[in-house]
């Protein structure tokens, strides 16, 4: 029995299959990058896995799931709503508690958004918003991290830092990525998808960027 697995999963939207008879096994400690064209089924696969392992996992969905009217601090705090009593959550909503600030500040500092910590989300750029969603996932302290293109809008020299933050804070990581070199650099295993099927599943060792070209050919 693997740590996580899907067996023969098929997902259809309006009659078209987005995942066809898909099986995957994931062991604890693996860092998996899902690669493939848009529409290949990466997001669907991530959502399926997240639904199944929700209790132990944090998620950075494609639309980030941030509350636009709340500050960066509060959005990160959402990651631990389940661990605190409701009355405390509400007090912290009205007046941020010192203890929470002290825990959250190092995380946002690491991701380079410390100076925005008390600004509402709508004031932030796309890349900054992605980093808030990552910070929320890190603050959640889950064993597993699922991310749907979590660094796609972060600028190039910062995206490596964010990737390292994700990997260092989670035991098992499953990400969809369109940046092939970033995927190769940070993962231990590459899963290639095309038209809802797995056409590649190999350890990252020895794979070169041009080996992935097939995935992007029509």
């Amino acid at each position: 029995m693997s740590f996580m697995e899907l067996r023969n999963a098929t997902v259809q939207y309006n009659g078209t299959s987005v995942l066809k008879d898909f099986s995957i096994q994931i062991e604890q400690g693996e860092k998996i990058a899902l690669v493939g064209q848009s529409g290949a089924g990466k997001s669907t696969l991530l959502n399926l896995l997240y639904q199944k392992y929700k209790g132990d996992a944090s998620l950075v969905p494609q639309d980030l799931g941030l509350v636009r009217a709340l500050s960066v601090f509060h959005n990160v705090y959402i990651g631990q709503l389940d661990k605190r009593p409701t009355w405390y959550n509400i007090i912290n909503l009205i007046k941020p508690q010192k203890k929470e600030i002290e825990t959250i500040m190092p995380i946002v500092e690491q991701l380079g958004i410390k100076d925005k910590a008390f600004e509402p989300i709508r004031e932030l750029s796309g890349g900054q918003q992605q980093r808030v969603a990552v910070a929320r996932a890190i603050f959640q302290h889950s064993k597993i991290f699922f991310g749907d293109e979590p660094v796609s809008a972060v600028d190039e020299h910062r995206s490596q830092t964010v990737m390292e933050a994700i990997i260092n804070n989670h035991q098992t990581v499953v990400l969809s990525m369109h940046d092939v070199s970033l995927a190769l650099k940070n993962s231990t295993r590459i899963v290639g998808l095309k038209e809802g099927q797995k056409i590649m599943d190999e350890p990252v060792k020895g794979i070169k960027a041009k080996d992935l070209d097939d995935l992007y050919k029509n």
């Binding site: 950075v60 941030l66 009217a69 959402i78 990651g79 709503l81 389940d82 661990k83 959640q140």
Partner: protein, 507 residues
């Protein structure tokens, strides 16, 4: 032109344009109904009164009544306490709005106009502050419940997927639904406070110590300089609302309002019990000693009398007035909105337009109707003009605002071509959505214009109160509420069919 081209042209003209078709249907209904209505000028020489009013308007007399400032304070105090209590009662109802029973309950309490609530509470509490506060708070809580629940439904659901498993429902609500909705709540509550000020002013007409009380006596004595003074300070209060209302000051305002309101009158439970267990019972049931066939026959005749002599004539007049006023509001909206739109006028022109519209929408429709009534004598005409001006100004203001977000191409046409080819087609769905949303409000207002003597349902309700026939009054109030709820559902049905959407927080 070939026949098939003609048919295609017809289809583009009408056949395939449901919005245009519905508009024409409503226009035709209004014309047909209007033919049965009573629209005539009965005063001999309206010009004399107009001259006196205009003279009054340009010579406002702020010293005419020493109660000017205290009545203003009372108006604001009643409005604040009423709206705050409406929020306190309405918010929990909004959270429970998914239950059908709650929705029906809210639809009922908001379908009875503030003035009718006030007339009811007047019998129970007398001319006490509680009468005014509850008269505003109760219908407003029904409105808040509906609008707040719509706002909550519209808040972005995407963060829900990122909330950790096992988070309590209350925490999820506070962190995910509330933050998005909060800004909309504030905007809407502020808009409602403006409505509350108008409601509060009008409550003076039935005797509460707000500015309506002094307006009533000034109007009836033809002291138009005093009327002008009262209205001007009222406009200033409404126009500057954003300058004096701050979230942090609200607790202070509540305390001040409680301290300053004249807490006259006394609350006796005896009154309360007598009114609800005796006075409002149909007369035959009240006098009977035993329930038998005779009681039943008397009850039937009681019901038949009200039905034939009051409910049905009132219903017909209410519907005529509503439909004509609805179309009138539509026409005025289309004429007024360019006045406040940057697409048609520069800053200077728009300022004039804004002042004009603020005056029209800040003047309670009841006061507008009273003015036209004095000019033209009793008929449906003053009521229709008053409703059309008031509602046309409200929707026109929103429409003008809506044109701000339109991006027009650089080589856009000008004048009427711009209006008909570029602006109106884009605005039309929104315009109809607001208008249909307002339909129920217009009907509620036509009913209360009855108090001014126009024979709508409100006229019969007011007469019943005046004759101390509370059984009739209550029956007719419930009947009117039922009619309002029908219009509300019909409006929702039509908006659904035409796929019209309104964002809840502006109207």
């Amino acid at each position: 032109m070939t026949t098939s081209t003609k048919i295609r042209a017809f289809k583009i003209g009408l056949g395939q344009r449901p919005l245009l078709r519905s508009s024409i249907i409503f226009l035709l209904i209004a014309i047909v109904l209007g033919a049965f209505g009573d629209f005539e000028v009965t005063t001999l020489d309206p010009w004399i009164e107009i001259k006196r009013m205009v003279f009054g308007a340009i010579t406002p007399d702020f010293t005419a009544t020493e109660d000017l400032w205290s009545s203003l304070v009372n108006t604001v105090a009643f409005a604040i306490l009423g709206v705050v209590l409406g929020n306190i009662l309405g918010f929990p109802l909004a959270l429970a709005f998914k239950f059908r029973s709650i929705r029906v309950f809210c639809a009922f309490i908001r379908s009875v106009h503030e003035l009718f609530w006030a007339l009811i509470f007047l019998q129970v509490f007398g001319l006490a502050p509680l009468t005014g506060i509850l008269a505003i708070a109760i219908p407003y809580s029904g409105i808040f419940a509906k609008v707040y629940s719509e706002i909550l439904d519209e808040s972005d659901p995407s963060p829900l997927q990122a909330v950790p498993n096992g988070t309590s429902a209350a925490s999820t609500f506070m962190f995910v639904r509330m933050p998005d909705a909060w800004a909309h709540f504030k905007t809407y509550a502020l808009y409602r406070l403006e409505c509350g000020l108008r409601s509060s002013a009008i409550l003076g007409f039935i005797g509460l110590p707000t500015i309506g009380f002094h307006l009533e006596s000034a109007f009836s004595q033809g002291k138009y300089s005093e009327v002008a003074a009262l209205l001007i300070i009222f406009y200033v209060v409404i126009a500057t609302i954003r300058k004096w209302i701050y979230a942090k000051l609200i607790p202070l305002y509540i305390l001040l309002a409680i301290a300053l309101i004249p807490w006259a009158g006394e609350l006796t439970t005896g009154n309360l019990i007598r009114f609800f267990s005796h006075d409002v019972l149909p007369y035959p049931l009240r006098i009977t000693e035993s329930y038998n066939m005779e009681t039943f026959a008397l009850l039937t005749s009681w019901l038949t009398t009200i039905w034939n002599e009051q409910a049905i004539p009132g219903l017909i007049n209410t519907i005529i007035l509503t439909q004509v006023a609805l179309v009138g509001s539509a026409v005025l909206t289309l004429m007024l909105f360019p006045l406040v739109s940057s697409k048609f006028f520069g800053v200077t022109g728009r300022t004039g337009g804004h002042i004009f519209l603020v005056i029209l929408r800040s003047t309670p429709e009841y006061v507008l109707a009273l003015i036209f009534l004095l000019l033209w004598g009793p008929s449906m005409l003053p009521a229709v003009v008053a409703l059309a001006l008031h509602n046309g100004a409200i929707i026109g203001h929103l429409m003008g605002h809506y044109t701000e977000d339109m991006n027009l191409r650089p080589d856009k046409p000008r004048g009427l071509n711009l209006y008909f080819y570029d602006i109106l087609p884009r605005l039309y769905p929104q315009f109809l959505a607001f208008l249909f949303y307002r339909w129920e409000v217009i009907m509620r207002e036509t009913a209360i214009l009855g108090i001014l003597g126009i024979a709508t349902l409100g006229f019969y309700i007011d007469s019943a109160f005046a004759d101390l026939r509370f059984d009739r009054a209550l029956f007719l109030i419930i009947f009117t509420a039922g009619l309002n709820m029908c219009i509300d559902s019909l409006s929702r049905f039509i908006r659904g069919r035409l796929q019209l959407r309104t964002t809840a927080d502006i109207i």
